[in-house]
Symmetry: C2
Amino acid sequence: MALIVQKYGGTSVGSIEKIKGVAKKVIDYHCQGNQMVIVLSAMAGQTDGLIKLAREMTEAPNPRELDVLMATGEQVSVALFAMAVKSMGYDARSLLGFQAAIYTDHLFGKARIHEVKTERIMKELEKGRIVTVAGFQGLDDHGDITTLGRGGSDTTAVALAAALKADVCEIFTDVDGVYTTDPDICPKARKMEAISYDEMLEMASLGAKVLEIRSVEFAKKYNVPIHVRSTFAKERGTMVIAETKDMERVMVSGIAYRKNEARVTIKKVPDRPGTASRIFEPVLKAGIVVDMIVQNMSEDGFTDMTFTVPRADFYKTMKLVSDVAQEIEAEKVLGDENIAKVSIIGVGMRSHAGVAQKMFEVLAKENINIIMISTSEIKVSCVIEEKYTELAVRALHEAFGLDDDQKRDQ
Amino acid sequence: MALIVQKYGGTSVGSIEKIKGVAKKVIDYHCQGNQMVIVLSAMAGQTDGLIKLAREMTEAPNPRELDVLMATGEQVSVALFAMAVKSMGYDARSLLGFQAAIYTDHLFGKARIHEVKTERIMKELEKGRIVTVAGFQGLDDHGDITTLGRGGSDTTAVALAAALKADVCEIFTDVDGVYTTDPDICPKARKMEAISYDEMLEMASLGAKVLEIRSVEFAKKYNVPIHVRSTFAKERGTMVIAETKDMERVMVSGIAYRKNEARVTIKKVPDRPGTASRIFEPVLKAGIVVDMIVQNMSEDGFTDMTFTVPRADFYKTMKLVSDVAQEIEAEKVLGDENIAKVSIIGVGMRSHAGVAQKMFEVLAKENINIIMISTSEIKVSCVIEEKYTELAVRALHEAFGLDDDQKRDQ
């Protein structure tokens, strides 16, 4: 007998019929002798509908009250799901955040879970009931409802799995697993059998589509095995687990890319102490997240500085940096929105030498110019011109032996 | 400075614009120095929509889970209302049943409030905040969500007013008060300035349209003054309060009627001990509520027995009673669906003699036959043929001096 936490996303519970389908599936697991805890998202479309309602009321809805409103979405799902299970002759109980004792900090709209008390859930499981818990919501220590932000139901599921010491946390979604890269631009992408927590975190740009990143951090911290799989198929998906020796045999596990960044370059910055902090202070104060920073070797007392920011913040950043550039008497500020970041990721890099070098060679062979480079222990990222993104991803995917040769090029 | 509890019904909060209107109104009260606690119903249509969703899932939704689902309606209202108040520059907090500490028994769908702990609400009021509480919902001592049944928000408001020792409980609705009778059938009906709790309870058939009857019982028990008034007009409505000397000056305060009953007569029942209990046992066991019972004087060892039941239970009752009639060897069972009950109500009856007699005369003068009579300390009810209902109401309204002579007959 296993204790299994399963999470079903909004598409999986998007209609009365789909909820019934999930109920049947869960009853099957239950009948096989498993203890089942089911975390649900709001029915597809509900969350957007509630946000729309709030925006009709006011442009900037109060965050505390927005959470009270948003929390109704998951409440509807779990009530309907428990009704479905009951109507099929099995016992079920829905629990909201406050009933499941999911305690968070006070950050409305993006709260972090800091404790889950499992008494109530365990009591219900011991009575032989299927327990369904509203995802995405919790309670702070003032007794106020909080929500965990988009995709927060993944985190709810992982947190419950950790607290309940579940055997596995299954995340059911509308894709069938985590791929070596985006199948939309690389037809030979392969579904991975397993990926380590750290690789999954680095694969954020791909992973975010199937798994909320915070839930992976949580899973890593508490060593909760996550099984990402499709609601609509029977095959196994991808296990997200602690690193194994096996994983290190492969040089590179996956290729990720991101197109939603922009580059800012300040030419001929006088090379004095404190200049970097003067440049970044207004940017960071404005809440803009700077990703990569590159500073060239100083020449004649001047240096060029380049960094990337989210594309949505590009114009704001250009304005802020141009003002500083004048003050510090830099030559000029250049910007480029048409960039992309391509990354190779794998825990195998630690034991294989020359991985970065191989990446540069592959890109060079395709005549792709590398604008910026950054590396971490298990990742190498290159900023390139946006138009080469697909070509770079496919070339790297093949070069690092990730191609599924049973799939033909399209 | 007064502490005021106000309740706004579904029509009053039926759209974003209407909620904004209520917010403005409440802020006005707040700015006059009052402490405001606002109980809201679900937006008009929401409750029906949720019931429909549950029925799509299963014909007989589990009552516990139905309450979890239904409670979202009021949750949406209070979140939007608090957002509205905040967006207008004033401080507000929404509280759900569990946060406002409204504790009930376990009867899902028709729970009764047995305790309200006021600490959280008082704390919020002391911070100068407008507090809005989700109506209709509470928490049982298992920590499960309960709902109070249709119109339950009235009861929430009165219970909060009692617990908070509020100066007044204002029930805002889409009518402007309690009338001496139904204005739809008696154009000269007058809005009452005040009515006693007991009269209001007897006026159930009229009162139910403006005020949930359980809330009146609650108000009577804790002596909470209720002010029933219109959301969409400035005039004062009707005060529902403890009996005053003033009220006794009037012989009759109002005329009520009910058309949703039916009459059952058993002819020639052998007059033996225990017969009545044998007749009513199957009816009461079937959960049918018997209203009036009349037994004629026994003659030659036989008696006729007549009683009324809700019209919806008429055929079921006829079947049950016909079976018993055979067993006890009564002659036959007659039934009539086309009856109505007309009542005169007033605490003044206690000090005015001959009120019932006057009622009989008025009906006789209009050639209306009285089928059954029942009386209580402050009420006389007559069952008549349904087709005479409007005529009877108008005649009694005039005869007991209730007509508003500034209104012309239509």
